[in-house]
């Protein structure tokens, strides 16, 4: 096999007219993509544009309906990741494919142990050597569940390198990192590029694509819009290719005068999974008509904070006063009754996928679902038709929630919560996985609630979203508030340092 750098005449991998259909949806249609050794190739597109499907095909996780894959100019068939790995392709997926109870070494050698009996010491040496060469430092004996997200990503890259990959696919690798970690990742990728590797960088963040990539391919509705040298375009041009029209400027945020305190959290502590401390002495207040953003690298207590505020997790200490009612330690029922609207990070944990839209819309208020314990089916249906209209949900009342698109599922959840005009709203990752249209819809609804005087706590891993929507920000690190920032004066670098645990300089 020829090393990639030696034969610049053929691309390492070439995809020719790849097509893939899921039901009625064409996820990929006639996609051509060539990857050369020594380049970083950006693949850009909205959610649902077909980026991930294309990469799953390249990694053997999905079989295309049509088209060919060439490796070093020879036709190849990938029936499973095993074939792709054999052809020198490695992939770091968005949700890491790592086994949490196993050690770093075990994860890296999994599937390529090189013998029937595990030689963990030799494997450890190999891991350390690879780590030194590319500046990817992790301790080989630690369990995956003890690592930070950034470290886990390094393990994923090491895993690919250990398999001697020549093509490395990274699916939205920066979504979960601090700005500083992103810089370290880019440095590693530069080194890998210099060593002759072909790198596929999937993203929807334009500045990162502009900074890092050599060439970029833009996908829209499953088709390639353009493939160009990055130098020859600007961010605005890429954005318009991505959405098919000039990008609309974000709706200007109207100034609103915060009112009285509607949510008061004092000395709040809680434990997370395995009874480890997850929140320590958290204090904050949110005024009516104000959005408080909660920033932080995932795993620093945001999930637990959202759960405690939603009544899904008991705090070990502290008080939460929502609209005058003490809700610390209360269950979901009392929290709802206190006027708190809750939109959790995982929509599927709030809605029953196998139930109808109508039933899900009434689920938080079952006392209104019947007359004397018997279901009032007309009323449930009327309520559903009303909300479907008001929140322009594309579904019928009898459709099962699991058959809806992500955006419509989120609208069902918003409808259930917002129609009650809650005084306090706890919302996590409201736009995760949504396309641009649905994202704008959700953000505008939240801003509308703010105008109406709701106090909103917004947890998000998307710094841009936090900066766009919030009035004030708090940064969580290791379960504590590492800093408080006014959104208007926020500086991304300063936020990054706080997210990485550098405490506020007084």
């Amino acid at each position: 096999m020829t090393a990639a750098g030696d034969s610049p005449a053929t691309p390492v991998v070439e995809l020719r007219s790849i097509s893939k259909r899921f039901g009625d949806v064409l996820a990929n249609e006639g996609v051509n993509l060539s990857l050369w050794g020594g380049e970083v190739h950006g693949v850009l597109g909205e959610n649902g544009a077909g980026k991930t499907t294309l990469m799953r095909i390249l990694y053997g996780l999905s079989i295309p309906d049509g088209g060919e894959i060439y490796v070093d100019g020879d036709l190849a068939h990938f029936a499973s990741p095993k074939d792709a790995i054999g052809a020198g392709i490695g992939m770091v997926t968005q949700h890491f494919a790592l086994v949490r109870p196993m050690t770093v070494t075990e994860n890296i050698i999994l599937g390529r142990t090189g013998g029937a009996i595990l030689d963990l010491d030799r494997a450890k040496d190999l891991v350390e050597e690879a780590a030194d060469r590319y500046g990817l430092h992790v301790e080989p004996d630690r369990r995956l569940s003890d690592l930070s997200v950034g470290e886990q990503q390094r393990v994923e890259i090491l895993k690919a390198l250990y398999r001697e990959c020549r093509v490395l696919i990274l699916d939205e690798p920066t979504a979960v990192l601090t700005p500083q970690e992103i810089r370290a990742l880019f440095a590693t990728l530069d080194r890998l590029r210099a060593s002759g590797m072909a790198i596929v960088f999937i993203s929807h963040k334009l500045p990162e694509v502009m900074e890092l990539t050599d060439r970029v391919t833009v996908l829209r509705h499953g088709k390639v819009v353009h493939t160009v040298e990055t130098d020859e375009v600007d961010a605005a041009g890429l954005a318009s290719w991505m959405v098919g029209r000039p990008a609309a400027p974000p709706e200007p945020r109207t100034h609103s005068e915060p009112g009285a305190t509607a949510l008061e959290v004092s000395d709040l502590s809680a434990v997370g999974g395995l009874d480890l401390p997850a929140l320590s002495d958290v204090n904050f207040e949110v005024a009516a008509g104000e959005i408080l953003g909660v920033a932080g690298v995932s795993g620093n207590g945001q999930t637990e904070l959202a759960e405690v505020l939603s009544g899904m997790r008991k705090p070990t200490a502290g008080s939460i006063i929502a609209d005058g009612t003490q809700i610390a330690g209360k269950g979901p029922k009392q929290v709802i009754a206190a006027g708190v609207g809750r939109i959790p990070e995982d929509r599927h944990e709030a809605l029953v996928g196998d139930m109808s839209v109508a039933n899900n819309l009434i689920l938080e208020h079952l006392d209104e679902a019947g007359k004397r314990l018997i279901l009032d089916r007309d009323r449930i249906r009327a309520n559903a038709l009303d909300l479907i209209e008001r929140f322009s949900i594309k579904a019928g009342p009898d459709d099962l929630v699991k058959t809806l698109s992500g955006g419509n599922i989120q609208k069902v959840l918003l409808a259930r919560v917002l129609v009650r005009e809650p005084r306090v709203i706890v919302v996590s990752q409201p736009t995760r996985g949504l396309d641009i249209g649905a994202t704008a819809y959700v953000r505008n609804e939240l801003l509308a609630m703010r105008r109406q005087g709701a106090a909103i706590v917004l947890m998000s891993e998307d710094l841009d979203e936090l900066l766009e929507l919030s009035d004030r920000l708090i940064v969580l690190y290791d379960g504590r508030i590492a800093g408080r920032v006014d959104a208007a004066e926020a500086d991304r670098d300063q936020l990054g340092l706080l997210m990485a645990g550098h405490t506020e300089v007084a």
């Binding site: 499973s80 109870p101 599937g111 013998g115 595990l118």
Partner: protein, 301 residues
């Protein structure tokens, strides 16, 4: 002294089928599958082991028959839980009902009840240190404790195969992305696990009883499932659990013949080991960490 020795000897013997089952089911569950077919697999192992020996006169062929039945039963469970992705509870119960039905059907057909119990020349006790000591055990007991359990532990911990089993049970997506065939590992775990369970069942007919009677397994398969959870999917903890169950079981057998104990119905003493296992689960089984992909079928798309 003799009483104690007696109980210890009986404990090792009564623990033997459970050790086979526990090691086997630990493999299956570490790969992410709850095999409720194990009760029927032990039953079929007991019957077909007995039947093969009764027909051929060879105990080794009896064991071989049990292994074949076990592998086949694991493959059927794999068809449902791995290939088709059905509910593991329902498939396992169905398998158990089917295997017990088939065993009793063939038993009725060929070893009909009219002529009374048919006996076989069963395994003899080994007496490496002369009579009347704790080492007077069947060869299969030695194999269970000195080969199956340690080898099972070592393979799971220190081999590529074991690593693969653990990976497909914790995170099949990760195992798939690393180039392992999730189905292959899960089928393998099921076949190995079921073969061991079947041999455990055959131990009862080919060694301790020398014959086959209806209802012979009497919930031992369910006990095995409980012991695996009690053992938190660690082989040695599971084996320890098997010894505890067998200890209580042997104790009640001996208590029955002691003066003063005959007032207690022996069936209630017989129920004691089951209750002990439930109590053990209640004490140690609180919020245990199940294998990450427990009960979850894996599909790529």
């Amino acid at each position: 002294m003799i009483f104690l020795l007696d109980i210890l000897t009986a404990t090792l013997r009564n623990a033997t089928p459970l050790v086979f089952g526990v090691v086997g089911e630990t493999y299956t569950e570490r790969a992410g599958i709850l095999n409720l077919g194990i009760e029927g697999t032990m039953y079929a192992g007991a019957f077909f082991g007995f039947a093969a020996t009764a027909v051929t006169g060879s105990l080794e062929l009896g064991i071989l028959a049990a292994i074949v039945v076990g592998v086949a039963s694991g493959a059927v469970m794999g068809l449902f839980s791995v290939t088709l992705g059905t509910s593991q509870h329902v498939a396992g119960i169905g398998l158990t009902l089917g295997l017990i039905g088939i065993s009793e059907f063939i038993n009725r057909l060929y070893f009909g009840s009219s002529e009374g119990l048919r006996r076989i020349e069963s395994y003899q006790l080994l007496e490496p240190f002369g009579p009347d000591n704790i080492f007077n055990q069947y060869a299969l007991t030695y194999i269970a404790f000195l080969v199956v359990a340690p080898l099972g532990w070592w393979v799971l911990r220190s081999t590529s195969f074991g690593l693969g089993i653990r990976a497909v049970g914790e995170n099949p997506e990760a195992a798939d992305a690393a180039g392992l065939s999730v189905s292959l590992y899960r089928y393998a775990a099921l076949m190995i696990g079921s073969a061991l369970a079947a041999v455990g069942g055959a131990f009862i007919t080919l060694a301790t009883l020398g014959t086959f009677t209806l209802g012979i397994i009497a919930g031992r398969g369910w006990v095995v499932i409980a012991l695996v959870i009690f053992g938190r999917w660690r082989i040695w903890r599971g084996v320890f659990g098997a010894l505890v169950f067998a200890g209580v079981f042997s104790l009640q057998l001996r208590l029955r013949i002691l003066p003063g104990w005959d007032a207690v119905p022996f069936e209630l003493l017989l129920a004691l080991p089951y209750l002990v296992v439930i109590a053990a689960l209640a004490i140690s089984g609180r919020n245990v960490e199940y294998p990450g992909a427990y009960l979850k079928p894996y599909r790529r798309d």
